[in-house]
Symmetry: C2
Subunit: 169 residues, 2 copies
DNA sequence: TCGGTTGGCTAGCGATGCTAGGATCCGTCG
DNA sequence: CGACGGATCCTAGCATCGCTAGCCAACCGA
């Protein structure tokens, strides 16, 4: 529903109608609308982790694996904008960063770490993974908001990854 | 008001009370609440452009200029989260990317281009500027949402910029 | 003096997230 | 067998949101 018409048109009333229950039933299963969005977000993180793993393990050369994984990440953000929004843009009452992150997110982050480990050089892998993920996230969100030149997505991705790989030597 | 309590508590009623007029008066000056936010956003873009220019022109060495500018960008995002949100996260009815972007935003983007021109090597400067800006944007928003390890901001920035600079040779 | 314009107001509409309180079912126990 | 108690679900409604209709008073040129 969010994917089709945006989160702003996902109301608790429409949601209740969709599942063929009345509105208050939602509140006996979730604390509020935010909790529903958070549940969808965690679900999406699992899906993203799977896509990243698939893209990464499909290639043997480390550089190719990273490029495939990064492309898969941007594809996911482009094709599932509402889901991506719930996961990484909207304010969610899910804890991050420290150890209490949702497991699927840690898994997705682990894919970045795995892909970057052979390319890290002397760099700290976790920091490198955060930077790579953050950079992709920025490109994804700015592109979605039409704040970047359309049609140059591939050039941007290539430039970014070339720099990240070159930074290790 | 947004900076103090977040955009969700900025209502047209409170806004009207603050300016000591009644609610409908707002709608004779702005098309709607979105237009008010957009006006604030454009204002912020001008401020950001000034900060970037100041940081960039304060250093002579190209690499130092870029580092100072990037740090200024992240400082701005950290210290003015609501303003930054209006500018780059919330959906705004301002056109971007093509020539019709608001002038202050083009100016801010021009600061990136100017700082990166001496460091581009053979790379396309506009693409490089988009990637740099996008990467900083991603790190800023993820850090603000507590989705990155706290305390490692400097390490991330250093790693990113080192990579971007190294990618030109 | 008068009529139009301007600029402000009160009141209210539809929709939102969320909650209070009552009804209905169903297994359990006296 | 029949009353009780806990689920489970509903209708109705609250406060608040962005936004608008319609009115009123002051001003200003003819």
């Amino acid at each position: 529903m969010a994917e089709a018409e945006g989160w702003e048109s996902v109301t608790t009333r429409r949601l209740a109608e969709r599942v063929e229950y009345s509105q208050p039933v939602l509140y006996s299963h979730f604390k509020g609308k935010d909790a529903i969005v958070a549940a969808v977000a965690v679900d999406g993180m699992g899906e993203l982790a799977g896509l990243l793993r698939e893209a990464r393990t499909g290639r043997s050369a480390p550089e190719e694996a990273l490029r495939a994984m990064a492309a898969a990440y941007l594809d996911f953000a482009r094709e599932r904008p509402a889901l991506y929004d719930a996961m990484f843009v909207q304010q969610i009452d899910v804890t991050f960063g420290t150890g209490e992150s949702p497991a699927p997110l840690r898994e997705a982050f682990g894919e970045f770490v795995s892909a970057l480990k052979p390319l890290a050089g002397g760099r700290d892998v976790e920091t490198l993974a955060e930077v790579t993920w953050g950079s992709l996230h920025g490109l994804a969100t700015l592109a979605r908001g039409r704040r970047l030149r359309p049609g140059h997505g591939d050039a941007r991705l290539d430039l970014l990854l070339t720099a990240i790989i070159a930074g290790g030597s």
